[in-house]
Symmetry: D2
Subunit: 154 residues, 4 copies
């Protein structure tokens, strides 16, 4: 299933290298000598977890159903416009970050506010026909989880 | 939106009285003199929270999309058979119970294991064409949240 | 540090075999052929996590400080009588169970309500001069975490 | 108990106005016309919750016991130097932010990384004889909770 998830992320516009880059930017100040390879390995390790895979499948399905107008109202409108008070996307991401402890949780909150790199690009595509309401949070969750894994390895 | 949520629960086979009854059974040993009216009021109060409403809309939509085979594979098969290792239903319920503190969290875990009353009925309808993979957990979450609210009021 | 933690648990009246037994009772219905050795290995694996170790050190220290009346009021009285609305003990246990996903979270809630075996013994020693307000929840958290690990391995 | 908590925060170097200021800075971009009074009222409302009060009493007690060298090793050394991988302080803060939903959770993560105002001052006093390992996170948790409350009111 891991290969399927990686292909799905790619199809939705996200590469593992981009996620690894965000994990790197979260950890570089604490981990001297941290390399991109180690960050990419941590991202792979996060994506190996079954619960992470199931969460990604669910969130991305909701984004895609919203793009095709196949969700009931008023849920459809909320997800299409990434309504700020709709917090289910963040709750799903917690299903990833919880597994990696408090460093992942705080890293996720930081990424969700600052939206660097691909997270910001996904977030701003809202209203262009593409819906990434869940995916931007899930990518932030994976990057934060990977950075926590790195922190505990150093 | 609260009226819409109550109607949706009814349509999916769940009344607020049934949820109040579960909240009562969780709290009766700790709260002498606890009445059904107070439990029902607590359930109403939980359903007034926007984040609870949004979580219910999302989970019930996923159940209904699974009934109509409108989810992508392998997600569809997992949700239709309520795969035990698929934990996104419990994660969504945490979006409800977290708001009511530790008594809600432990009450939810207990209900999820013992599946009393309507929770068990929803759970066992799996494989009959109806899908309640999310709803049984969300009902457990509302009941546990209501019981925590009662505990803090007594 | 793992050896120190095991010794500390022993000193406080808890053996890893007792925790493994609880994990076994949580999983036996789902995992045919589950053996005690596998449960004990899962408990060891949980105790290898740094965040689990830090949580145990903190919770057990609070129990011991309460026994020696070295906490400030009104915290001391609440911890000594295991005040039901004091939920910080359950919050600390979540620091363990979160790391093991939704099966650990629901298993913990169930154990916290039913208090089997050593968890019940710890809980009932309250008022005998011994304080186990944190330890009973932490033991439930370790057992639930181990049972989740087993579930994902089967 | 609320008055006791406010006095304790004051004694540890934190005023409610300072916390309200942080909540304001988190929400001002989303809530035009937001005033300081409303932020202060939200902070008061957060401090009215029993679970928040119990969490504060516990975390501040641990800080003070560390200052007086009254915790056992190796816990004492970890708390005194605010060891980055010791995550129990963040776990306690989650006992506050969880009650206020996903906006509180992400706000907390952001504050924990950026450490504005009084949070940064508390954090940097580490190693001066004062220990605020728990308090800086708890203050971030209260501010994030208050900002979430404001977001849901606007």
């Amino acid at each position: 299933m891991r290969e399927q998830i990686i292909a799905l992320l790619k199809e939705r516009g996200v590469s593992l290298e981009q996620i690894a880059q965000i994990a790197y930017s979260l950890q570089k100040q604490y981990a001297s000598g941290l390399g991109h390879e180690q960050c990419l390995a941590a991202v792979h390790s996060v994506l190996n977890k079954r619960e992470v895979q199931y969460t990604l499948l669910t969130g991305i399905a909701l984004d895609m159903l919203a793009e095709r107008n196949q969700l009931p109202e008023p849920l459809l409108a909320m997800i299409k416009r990434d309504e700020p008070l709709y917090g289910v996307d963040e709750i799903l991401a917690l299903g990833i970050t919880n597994l990696y402890g408090s460093i992942a949780l705080t890293g996720f909150g930081y990424l969700d506010k600052t939206k660097p790199d691909v997270i910001g690009r996904l977030d701003s595509q809202c209203c262009s026909g593409r819906v990434h309401t869940f995916l931007d949070d899930l990518v932030a969750g994976i990057a934060a989880a990977a950075s926590s894994k790195i922190a505990h390895q150093m």
